[in-house]
Symmetry: C2
Subunit: 333 residues, 2 copies
Amino acid sequence: MLARAAELPSARDARTVADHDDPPGRDIVIGSGDDAAVIDTAGPTVISVDTAVEGRHFRLDWSAPHQIGARAVVQGAADIAAMGARTTGVVVSIACPPTTLVGTVLDLDAGIVAATHRLGARVLGGDLVAAEQLVVSVTAVGRLDGIAPIVVGGAQVGDELAVSGPLGGCAAGLAVLRAVESGGDRALLDRYARLVEAYRLPDPDLAQGVAAARCGAHALTDISDGLIEELRTLAAASRVRVEIDSDRLPRVGSLAAAARDLDVDLREWTLAGGEDHELLGAFPSGTIPPGWTVIGAVTHSDTSGSVIVDGTAAGALRGWQSFADIEPDGRRR
Amino acid sequence: MLARAAELPSARDARTVADHDDPPGRDIVIGSGDDAAVIDTAGPTVISVDTAVEGRHFRLDWSAPHQIGARAVVQGAADIAAMGARTTGVVVSIACPPTTLVGTVLDLDAGIVAATHRLGARVLGGDLVAAEQLVVSVTAVGRLDGIAPIVVGGAQVGDELAVSGPLGGCAAGLAVLRAVESGGDRALLDRYARLVEAYRLPDPDLAQGVAAARCGAHALTDISDGLIEELRTLAAASRVRVEIDSDRLPRVGSLAAAARDLDVDLREWTLAGGEDHELLGAFPSGTIPPGWTVIGAVTHSDTSGSVIVDGTAAGALRGWQSFADIEPDGRRR
């Protein structure tokens, strides 16, 4: 995205943080490098923004800059997928201390570009400014290609609830990093490398958003704040009661072993752990897309919305909350 | 944009920093409140991002939060206007310390909403996260309504150069605030209140972007980094030499008096002062839109691009550069 490292010391706006290596392509009339980008949209355009803050959402000693950049793109693109759309482009704002190494910004940038290209999308422009800490904000735009957007509040009684991929890996990986930092066995890092990588860079198949829409999903959202929080949002917005069975939640093989090693209730990761960015959908019975896992159902109308997990109301479990849970150093309270 | 102050402590993503008071309207299929917004775009969509950082781009003791919010919108919308488009929506990312008063965020938000509505646009969604300092990032999207986008590199030999409104007010207002902070006469604040207000909230007529495009502008950009920087960009991208006469630059009445009072060369403000967000255009001779002021012309082809001010090469004068000029407390070095 950055044209030349030499431009960094005087980086000023979209023209400088410009991806001259990312030329106009399909959907793109004018790429980055001018006052604004121009994208060709023959129909509805989907747009969302996500911001990651050093010390809150990532730490430079736990993740490489290119992973931080790629992760920010995945977060933004997951919101696009959650409407049933495909991501066509991103615009990026990077705020960083003037003492940041140029190599760090270039690596961050490389991660942004690579993750964007992996989605079949383009970097449309950006902004690079000085600040006291590193803040990466990604605005993603996408197309619906003739499909009606899938809102979070469209679930109907009788729908089946399903998720697009394994949950809890990101929270487990973070728990492993924290355990080692607190003096735990460093061998945990090797044993659970798969989980640590899931924390560093979640790898959801975001094409499943379009797949879910094509299968006729009634409601769709991405799991950014923990499954339990997304279920609450879906239930409240749809005015329904949802019931799920935690044993049915898909997870990677090493998750249970890691929970035992770290003495954690597995459900803290699968139900309350956020940032996996897999998709949660409500589907008419029998229309689940291939590869998705049914975890429960929409059972009743309920104007206030409610969530039942394993037969009891999900009261105490909370997912990610930006201001509530996390200390400035990134640890949960 | 924020639905309720009570949601702030657990603010988490677009669903929470959601403008439930800003319903779908013209161009908007789904407003904020879901994973992403959906806008109806019958043709090319223009998109750009701008970020403002506390202590770098604004100070809370110099500007009210609603001014900071409104200013961030104007900055984003100016980039859209600079392509010849009208702004249809914005998505906003606010990062702020957990100790920030809820009233401050609500006031900031009110400024964002008011400025967005003033443009005839909608707030499409947002993200509210915790950080060490206040960072406001606005992504603006807009429509071209059948007009071809106007790039900065399209100026042609023989074009006239014109600007859409007065320059230097923002830089002068900032200079007044700094002078008073350094022990200068507080009466300066009253005497030059118009300039201080220009710094706090620039008021360019951004509809002039569309007007310029309709008049057949060859090149267009907004003056965010100072006229001299924008001229350099335009000249280099267009591979031309541009010549301007500093006496022709439009300015508000009190600017010259303030320059005398503060012992400043007026051109430091009109030529090098940034953030007025008026537009600079290159037009075929005789096609200047009403209300614009001719300041010079495109005189020669020049593959490396060059800028002549008052008959001499503009070498030393520099405009705004995010990393180079400004100390962390917001002062220039």
